[in-house]
Symmetry: C2
Subunit: 390 residues, 2 copies
């Protein structure tokens, strides 16, 4: 089932979930979403992972064939799970954690009808909490994603040719990412946010309001996926903001750099510098125990002082956050937003993305991924942060 | 909210849903998934679509800003929907359709707590049934996807260079698809099946069992997405099966062609010809009223007669179907499988994919998309069907 070297890491994850289960009075936890299966089993499979509050987990597999291990059981349907648990002498849970924010309603109802728990609690919330604290191993994966991400961005200027549209440019960047090992598939929490690899936002497209809660979505090529490139020709005096997902290791780094065609307006340069100052402010202050909302509010103060509020995090439509946890998905805990109740913890990894939309120019600003350590934060996506002229 | 030219098409879709609602005794239908919003509103937005069993629908929008129309209402939370319905003099539904197989459990529970219906029925089943019958407009979109799909495949041989790995080859094919207008994002029904643009399966990778219910998944590059390319070097005597999604129009065509490095074994050529014969059998027989399981069983008979059963639809692990409906998602109704209860209807559009895995060679076979018309089926993905030597 696993490579032996990953087992100590997985055991720690299971223990962390069990600790939360204990705290909530849950006896069992059933996982079936790909994201959480990857977290608890280091692989995606079709089936279920069952964790009792004490002891080892069991792996119930529909597909693929060929997985081995004393705790691996092949099943065709979830009704077999409880039969096997009873055979194994494992008491059925009275309080069961199920993935209430991830699995479709009917899947959860079927799981409840199999287990008949007295009480169902939300495994999604528990897993998101546990997953928000990255181990050294996970931080290493995100550090590696960040390095590959930065190496790709360093090559982005070589891909530009005058007269390109945003989609031409995006396609070359996508190819570069794939050539450097990006898996491509971009995981977002919440069924309603979809995106393809990331976004490349050129000029006026930065101000196209998005249905998604991404900072600066862009209009998209098609009504069925209204995000990112929309066919804008990249013209002098405008910017192009590259915000691709760093899908290199199963853990997604997040990073944005802004490029320009020739020079842009003084307001655009000023706003970009303010974004860098916001980042510096937060780098100086962020450490375990700091409230995420305080970081947001500190950013907002600087924005107001510089009279940039109308442009902050969008112009026609503004995003309500400046940072978000990253990991297996692009939107994990913590959230850096005005009403966030999160506080930074050692092991958190988040993307910080103060950005502005300047009418007539496009998007400016910065995004980097940071790991929270005992005494401060570590930047995982290191590369020149100025606006790079193409 | 809409381009006026799409309105008659949308009205027909709403009417088709209302007809099903009537049949089931439902008063209202609430839609919130991107796929179904795109179907009922020709665009993805963050929010809800509410359709009473009689009369016009209402559009409840969270984002983006700027949508207009007399039936567009901006909201922040679902609790506002019923307040607005009451203001508009629309009776609250007693029997409500909700997307039970698409939306997370907690979303559905919240919707139920807003509407307090006496009975909840499954909008997913209803919408999948209605969506399975394509209008002329939708058939046109799938025909256009199919044409672009075939045009891309015609260029695939130009992308091959000796010594390439499957990932090298896939990256060039992905780029070609994007250059020809593919949106890239690949929509699959069911939360557990994930894929990036499609699959390119070279040599022995064809026999890597997948956790997903795709025919011939491939091992993948990473445990977090175990599907498609796995780094196999493309070597003489093996095949490479290209099965990308035709995401050109919001409606996904499905098409597979097999290429070879030099010549392959006689068994591989034989199996490929049998796949083509199965396709011919089905082309001759398929029309409205024919049972999907009969088409599957006819294929199986030919496979058995040719002693190819061990290789059919996989070797180590076999897929249990040879065809599936296509549309906004890659796996719609009908399903061509042994126990399918579907029968072909005018307006169905399905992919037919008889395939074999030949150990030592790789995957062979064919996949095309077909529209069901009154008197038979129309191939939407027209291109040479032999194994093309690279």
């Amino acid at each position: 089932m696993f490579k032996p070297e990953i087992l100590p890491e997985l055991r720690n994850r299971w223990k962390a979930i069990q600790k939360e289960m204990s705290r909530k009075g849950a006896d069992g936890c059933l996982i079936a979403s790909n994201v959480n299966l990857f977290y608890v089993a280091d692989r995606v499979y079709s089936g279920y992972f069952y964790l009792p509050v004490k002891g080892d987990p069991l792996f119930f597999v529909r597909r693929p064939v060929g997985l081995t291990g004393s705790t691996v059981f092949y099943i065709r349907k979830p009704e077999q799970i409880t039969v096997i648990l009873e055979k194994e002498g494992i008491a059925l849970p009275q309080t069961l954690l199920l993935e209430l924010d991830e699995l479709p309603y009917n899947d959860v109802v079927r799981q409840q009808s199999v287990f008949l728990p007295e009480q169902t609690l939300n495994a999604t919330a528990t897993l998101r909490k546990v997953r928000s604290i990255k181990s050294d191993y996970e931080t290493g994966l995100l550090r590696r994603s960040g390095e590959q991400h930065a190496a790709c961005y360093a090559e982005v200027p070589n891909l530009y040719k005058p007269g390109m549209t945003d989609i031409d440019f995006s396609i070359e960047i996508e190819r570069l990412f794939r050539q450097r090992g990006a898996i491509g598939h971009f995981r977002v929490f919440g069924q309603s946010m979809e995106i393809f690899m990331g976004s490349v936002i050129s000029g006026a497209n930065a101000d196209n309001p998005s249905p998604y809660d991404f900072a600066m979505g862009g209009g998209g090529l098609h009504n069925s996926l209204p995000v990112s490139v929309n066919g804008t020709v990249m013209t002098p005096g405008t910017t192009v903001m590259v915000d691709m997902g760093g899908t290199f290791t199963g853990y997604i780094s997040d990073m944005t750099r802004v490029f320009s065609i020739g020079k842009v307006s003084p307001l655009a340069y000023k706003a970009h510098q303010v974004a860098l100052e916001i980042q510096s402010d937060i780098e100086a202050l962020a450490k375990p125990g700091v409230a995420a909302c305080d970081l947001y509010n500190m950013a907002l103060e600087r924005v107001k002082k510089q009279d940039l509020l109308p442009y902050f995090m969008g112009y026609s439509q503004q995003a309500g956050f400046i940072g978000h946890g990253i990991g297996i998905q692009i939107n994990e805990s913590p959230v850096l937003a005005p009403r966030s109740k999160d506080e930074l913890k050692e092991g958190h990894i988040f993307a910080l993305e103060p950005k502005f939309v300047i009418p007539g120019v496009g998007a400016v600003g910065i995004e980097n991924s940071f790991a929270v350590h005992k005494n401060g934060i570590e930047k995982l996506t290191v590369l020149n942060e100025e606006i790079i002229e193409l």
